[in-house]
Amino acid sequence: MPKNTHAATDEPANSVENVSGLVKALEKLSIPAKPSTGAVVEDTEENAPPPMYEFESPLPYSYTVEHSPTNLSQSCLEMDLKTFKHALTGSIPGLALRLSIDTFPQRTASEMALVRSEFRKMNETKKTFIPAFDEVLDVLTVPSAFKLAYRGLVLGPLLFDLWILQNVFSSQRSNNSRILRAERIS
């Protein structure tokens, strides 16, 4: 069930725009680059029809939650789009991600789907979002547990499950141990 988000005049103080000075001050810092090892999960099925569910499932873990109506305010949407933009093209991508920790968890699955969709519309000719986002996350020097949960937050329920499946598959083939460890325990 979608929940109310900030009203248009209720923009959080920690918006990306408000910390642009901090971004500039830190822009000489760099993050060491390394190639992404994750499998590609892309959010390109913008016009894909919702699943032909037998009924609108109210149950936990139902993917229909991504098709619920949203009431995300324009200011929140713009703020989230700026966060994505800073995360992908800013000089300090990690900073934008860190600043979003307090705001993204407030979004419903359908609101995050809307943000991804709007971002894709704005950047049609540029590099697709999720692989680029994966690369940003991969090079950040933060714990793997944070990356996993944060990735899930951005991808939403369906794409996150798909991402886990594809990465377990890739990891099995490349003998990468981290996700395999998660598999054994789950």
Partner: protein
Amino acid sequence: MIDILIGRNADDLHYLDIKFQRQSESHGRLSSIVGGLTSSPELLAAFTIATVHVRPPASQPVDPSLVVADVQEIGRLLSVNCPLQSLHDELFDILLRRNDHHLAQINLYFRMKEGKDLYKIIRKSSTISKVTRKVAVHAIRSAIDLVDRDVALLRLALEGDGPMSRGNNDVLGVRVCRMHWYRQHWLRVQEGFRAVMNKNLLDVLKSKGGLFRDLMVALTRN
């Protein structure tokens, strides 16, 4: 992987399969990569059933005669010394191919007959392998009490937590994230955690460190 593929609504698995086909290079079905997901024969059997054989929809009425037959068959599997291979195949053939209402009825029979839930009987069984037990318990708990199951999953991810152990933060993070999308359920899970553990999940997550703690707290608080 068990969280994603076992105990799921048939429609959700179907949608996941469609999305997978659209995105995979070969456009193959989810079932085509099951062999590459695990080397465990029990998990392979479970994931194959979950991705190939669609469970009946939740709206399908429970067939009482099939429930009785399933109860008898499970009772037989638990009491005789079946070869392990046969045991997990036959057990999964029931537990992973019936809808939740049907599984709840089976569990009710065992509770009346044995005085305890079927998943507790399976968990204590020494004739069943650890992986088979894990899959079976997950499937039954998903059908009878999803909140109770998720509280148990969080406790497992936090297990060993303490000054000398970090628990399994990867699994914990994935589970908290997957649960937080379903607000009402998530609140019930937190209530259930408090009832079982006598402490707030939020306080437990606050004991984590750094950015991971901040994210977990934000996902739990909002």
